[in-house]
């Protein structure tokens, strides 16, 4: 297990360097004046240009620039946005909100997705299975931003069950509706994956053997069918964290959640290049680390992985 973790950690380093290098190169090293490129048609204040030149060390050679950029990233020295506010500070305020939203969305898709998937998979072809399958198809087909507006309109405006926008004071309750929107599409994928995986492991030889040992049905389902079916589901949940981030941009924008995604959304609307690069780099870092954690969880769930070289 220790050697697996070390091996995995070693693999993360080139991925992180490659990804940030790509992002940085895209924004700062292509021909033309990066500052001008960052602002497009708009003319930024001279003070901002000077700050940016110092912050990104644009007079240094590319590799030095990139090294300093990484150093800044790891010390959370992310510079200021166009209003002069430090990006790191506003990210620090926004991060807990997004973390809450993402946790809630993750819980919704994992708990309900797995539960519904297991029931559907155990009774494949039954009425529950058929219903759930059709509903999940529809849910997958409706894009997150459409779903966001529809649920906002129905539950927030017309029925008045929830606040249509979240605003400054986000808590678990007010984040529920956005979390449902954010988690719904993945919920459908988790459900379908769990269902497929459950009905496949139901036919596995070791499940038959477990039954032959005299185990009760619930024990067979929990210890052998469910436990083994979780492996592909966890992989999906990990790979889908990136999708969750993309979805958070849209959801936080629609529901006016003061989170990281919203900061990014606003930065995009205002075409604030440096802010976008900083936030995306932080998110990529989180994504890479989260995937590492998922891999460890995966190795814990599936002992074969630890030895598979």
């Amino acid at each position: 297990m220790v050697s697996f973790i070390l091996k995995r950690l070693l693999q993360v380093i080139p991925v992180f360097i490659g990804t940030t290098l790509f992002v940085y190169y895209m924004v700062f090293a292509l021909p033309g004046d990066p500052i001008a490129a960052l602002f497009g048609d708009r003319q930024p204040p001279q003070a901002v240009i000077d700050t940016l030149r110092t912050q990104y060390h644009l007079d240094e050679p590319f590799w030095v620039q990139y090294g300093l950029f990484l150093q800044n990233l790891f010390t959370f020295n992310l510079g200021n946005d166009f209003t002069g506010q430090p990006i790191a500070a506003s990210l620090a305020r926004a991060f807990p909100v997004t973390a809450m939203l993402a946790t809630e969305a993750l819980l919704i898709q994992a708990v309900f997705g797995i539960a519904f998937g297991v029931f559907a998979g155990l009774r494949r072809g039954g009425w529950f299975d058929s219903t759930v399958l059709v509903v999940s198809l529809v849910v997958i087909a409706v894009p997150t931003f459409v779903l966001g507006f529809v649920l906002q309109l129905v539950f927030g405006v017309q029925l008045g069950w929830a606040k249509p926008t979240v605003g400054a004071n986000a808590d678990w309750g007010s984040l529920l509706l956005p979390a449902i929107v954010l988690g719904l599409v993945s919920f459908a994928y988790v459900l379908r994956l769990t269902r497929a995986s459950v009905s496949e492991s139901m036919n596995a030889d070791y499940v038959r053997t477990a039954t032959a040992k005299g185990l009760s049905r619930p024990r067979v389902v929990v210890a052998h069918i469910l436990r083994n079916s979780l492996i592909p589901v966890v992989t999906y949940l990990g790979a889908n964290l990136g999708g969750l981030m993309g979805g958070a941009i849209v959801t936080e924008g629609i529901f006016n959640v003061p989170g990281v995604g919203n900061k990014l959304y606003q930065a995009i609307l205002r075409t604030e290049g440096p802010t976008i690069v900083s936030i995306v780099s932080v998110l990529v870092l989180i994504f890479v680390v989260a995937n590492l954690l998922v891999d460890l969880l995966y190795a814990w769930l599936d002992p074969r992985i630890r030895y598979d070289q």
Partner: protein, 573 residues
């Protein structure tokens, strides 16, 4: 139904019955029906068998005969689309054919145990072995502390049981996994054990050890065993009574030896004739010409004495095994192997898994490069062949592989499969190639209508015939058969072996036959090379090796052939 008097009375059982002992399991007129996409299919009809307490009964049959289905019905584990549609399954007089799931859970484990077929897929890969034993004990209300678990594993012959209990299935070899499964099956001391091909995936020597151990344990515990097997020799050797199933029906049943010595039903007769483990000599190909096989072989061997088509000299293949973090160690899969193959004869390389026999085959086929040593083909060192010469070499040496489901491209129909070698080597035009394909199908006794079929529409034996036809398309000198008949049912295997022998007689082919099955060697080979852990331990003519093996390892292999000790009258074998 007709009854026949048994030929060898088994007096002690009759005594038991008269003393009032009731059968443990009695299956009466059992029918099992599967509902499939194309309607109801009856997999088992009128099946019946009786097992007395402590007795071992074997069901023998080929795949699809209904033998496993019958056994699964007895423990209530039929697949979801299957059901008992008629008859009774009486356990101690209680009909459990339609018992509630609750009742079956009570019975499973401590009254009826099971040892499944494939040790690779029957242990849950995510749980430690110890846990999988523990849950069995707990579900059946037995103490399940670490010592109890270790005890169960130790009894099944797993050394160092405390440590082993903390390991995962993938850390176990196949033989050890099967021991763990036997431990689990017997952990609650059931009165009946259903053993479904418990050793068919294992090497013969391991198979023998495990079956011996199973015998000892069930004898000690007084457990009755229902043994499912495709191997008549194994059944006769291990069981008191043999039940032969064919196409879902019991065609013959009786005391093992009586049934083997005096088979009545035509199917059983054919099975006894074809069982390789019971055969005692090489397939005779020249019978109809009135020539004694031994004479023919002798003259062939004489003529070919100076003509070695293949000479293997001091062949070595070393693999680097990675051990993580840049470390690696050398592993010699093949270590200093030398032998010659005479033209027109069959040389068998025999060994268990990991002996390096398949690596030798791959190197002869020029699919792997030897680390050391030489392979001479017609006196020419194959390592010196240029690309164009290698291309010509491939015309003359062709392989046939083990897995009949993997050796044909599922996307190619039979015509394209057999035609591919001709096209690759740009032989003839479309018309002449089609003519050749038709001839080849004739040679392997397949109808020409098979040309437009796809591999998935053929049985395993038919696929193997197609693979033979493809190998023959380029008129090769040498055919390398890598476990070419191992995956086939006994009767089909006999058919394919006969076909190979005929082709050899008619076309003067040379075979290099790679196999783990000594019984097959006896039927087909002129010379034997026995390999163990990469080294050649014994070579010689088949008769010499079988009659007076020189090495302990060879003796162990020969002893492990199931049924080898059964003395059969020559007219049967």
């Amino acid at each position: 139904m007709r009854e026949k008097e048994m030929t060898t009375p088994e007096i002690h059982i009759d005594e038991a019955r008269s003393a009032g002992v009731k059968p443990l399991l009695e299956i009466r007129d059992l029918a099992i029906t599967f509902s499939t996409g194309s309607g109801e299919v009856q997999a088992v009809r009128n099946a019946h068998l009786t097992i007395m307490p402590g007795e071992t009964v074997a069901i023998v049959g080929e795949s699809g005969s209904g033998k496993s289905t019958t056994a699964l019905a007895a423990i209530g584990l039929l697949p979801n689309n299957g059901r008992v549609s008629a008859g009774q399954i009486l356990l101690d007089g209680e009909d459990i054919a339609h018992a509630s799931e609750k009742r079956m859970i009570e019975l499973r484990g401590n009254t009826i145990g099971m040892v499944p077929q494939d040790p690779m897929s029957n242990l849950n890969p995510v749980w430690k072995i110890g846990y999988q034993v523990k849950e069995t004990l707990r579900a059946n209300g037995l103490p399940s502390g670490p010592d109890d678990i270790a005890n169960v594993l130790a009894q099944a012959g797993l050394p160092d049981a405390h440590r082993r209990a903390k390991q995962y299935p993938h850390e176990f070899s196949g033989g050890m996994r099967q021991r763990a499964l036997i431990a689990i099956g017997l952990s609650c001391q059931p009165r009946l054990l259903i053993a479904d091909e418990p050793t068919s995936a294992l090497d013969v020597t391991v198979q023998r050890q495990i079956l011996d151990h199973l015998d000892t344990m069930t004898t000690e515990l007084g457990t009755a065993v229902l043994l499912i097997t495709h191997d008549l020799g194994l059944a006769a050797e291990r069981a008191d009574k043999v039940v032969v199933m064919y196409r879902g029906q019991v065609v013959e049943a009786g005391p093992s030896l009586a049934l083997l010595q005096n088979p009545q039903h035509p199917y059983t007769k054919r099975l006894v004739e074809s069982a390789p483990s019971l055969a005692s000599r090489r397939i005779q190909v020249a019978k109809e010409q009135g020539v004694e096989a031994s004479d023919l072989l002798a003259s062939a061997a004489e003529a070919a004495a100076a003509d070695n088509v293949l000479q293997i000299q001091d062949l070595r293949k070393v693999y680097k095994l990675r051990q993580g973090f840049g470390k690696s160690s050398d592993f010699a899969a093949v270590d200093g192997v030398s032998f010659d193959v005479k033209r027109g004869t069959t040389t068998a390389i025999v060994g268990e898994s990991g002996s390096g026999k398949s690596t030798v085959a791959k190197m002869v086929l020029q699919l792997e490069t030897p680390t050391d040593g030489k392979i001479l083909f017609d006196g020419v060192d194959t390592s010196l062949l240029k690309a164009s010469e290698l291309f010509k070499f491939r015309r003359r040496v062709q392989p046939i592989f083990q897995d009949p489901y993997g050796s044909l491209d599922p996307m190619y129909n039979i015509y394209r499969t057999i035609e591919e070698p001709l096209r690759v080597h740009k032989i003839g035009n479309a018309a002449s190639r089609e003519k050749k394909v038709r001839e080849l199908l004739d040679k392997v006794a397949l109808p020409q209508s098979a040309m437009q079929r796809f591999p998935n529409e053929l049985s395993g034996g038919q696929r193997q015939r197609v693979a033979i036809a493809r190998a023959l398309a380029l008129d090769p000198d040498v055919i390398i058969c890598d476990e070419a008949v191992s995956a086939l049912d006994v009767l089909v295997q006999a058919q394919v072996l006969n076909l190979l022998a005929d082709l050899q007689a008619n076309l003067g082919l040379t075979y290099l036959f790679i196999t783990h099955d000594l019984a097959v060697v006896r039927q087909i080979a002129d010379h034997v090379c026995v390999m163990e852990k990469g080294k050649l331990v014994e070579t010689g003519s088949t008769d010499d090796v079988f009659e007076s093996p020189q090495q302990e390892y060879t003796k162990a292999l020969l002893n492990a052939i199931p049924g080898a000790k059964l003395m059969l009258p020559p007219e049967v074998a």
